[in-house]
Amino acid sequence: MRLERARELAAALDLKTDRELTALRLGPPNQVLTQIRAYLQRRSDEKATRNNPYELLRIRKENGFAVLLLGPTIDRGSSSQHFHLDSGARLSLGLTLREVERGSQVVSYRYHFVFPDGQSPQYLRFDLLDAPHADSLAEPRCHLHPGIDDVRIPFSVHNPIEILDRIFFVLERATHESK
């Protein structure tokens, strides 16, 4: 009985996510690229660990859609394609946009933050799916992996830059201070 109620609430949360996504309108994909790149450059300028977002962040536009990619799609360990942070953590991301009149809408994203070696959890990953999963309870459309692939904790829809705020000003700060 309670399981059914939990599923109803999860489905309602996915509907709310859908409404929030519909309301979230960004600039054209190239403008989003420019904004994220400038954001990452500022964070890099503030840190001791040097990164070159201009070389790391890539955009590809195909038939009305755009993907922005930084780092490998599948994290298999530290690489020169990652954005590296002072704590020893690393970041990769993928953001898919749908072009609409004079702007774009968020289709999906993944922000994969890997903590330095030896830390638990090993990683946090913010995911947005392009559509609701059949089982909204097990897999909310917008979720956070707390270092376990099969565990997905509901998370609210964020502007792509706001997720970076959480990563740099919360995760990285806490990681750096705990060292």
Partner: protein
């Protein structure tokens, strides 16, 4: 114009950022898609400098209009666009009013190759503001190349153990998970229509 270095807008904006508040540069308009490039330059300036960037048309602005526009406000970034080209008379009058053009925020002259030649030959005062900072608008290196796209597709295929064609078939049969990696895969294959 080959004596000028080619720089993407991001690098031009970074140079202005590093110089601090004040700075003058000139950028040659590309031969094609000049309007879209101007929009991109404006966006890049706003993102990197974290301040508004305005475009002012030199050709249609009177002396008084230009002076007022440059100083109200005077701390944002201003792109002075030469449009399709300015007359020699216009260049000479702009040069005479150089001191009235001085402002706190950066100024970017967006000029055709012909106007850059006029600037160099007929506007020595403005040229002294700019010095050697004359750039050709270069391509944005953030755009993924075809080789990079193929590498991404190969990486996805190897990791998930099936081909791009199979990914498309699964998407058509609604068997492809909604995870972001699969979304990216379809878009990189040019099949965003299946989302």
């Amino acid at each position: 114009m080959s004596e000028f270095s080619t720089e993407p807008f991001f690098e031009i904006a970074r140079r202005l950022e590093i110089r601090g508040e004040t700075g003058w540069v000139a950028v040659l308009t590309p031969a094609t898609d000049s309007s879209a490039s101007l929009d991109q330059l404006q966006t890049e300036l706003q993102s990197v400098l974290q301040k508004p960037a305005r475009v002012i048309q030199l050709e249609t602005s009177t002396f008084e209009e230009l002076r007022e526009a440059l100083h109200q406000p005077d701390g944002d970034a201003v792109i002075l666009s030469g449009g399709t080209g300015l007359t020699l008379e216009k260049w000479r009058s702009l040069d005479i009013m150089r001191s009235a053009l001085e402002r706190k925020g950066p100024v970017i002259l967006w000029l055709s190759p012909g106007d850059v030649a006029h600037l160099i030959e007929h506007a020595p005062n403005i040229r002294s503001f700019i010095g050697g900072s004359i750039f050709l608008a270069g391509p944005d290196r953030g755009i993924m190349t075809e080789t990079e796209r193929q590498e991404r597709l190969k990486e996805l295929s190897q990791h998930f153990g099936f081909s791009g064609a199979e990914a498309v078939r699964k998407a058509q049969a609604r068997e492809l998970p909604h995870e972001p990696e699969f979304v990216e895969w379809l878009v990189l294959l040019g099949r965003g229509d299946l989302l």
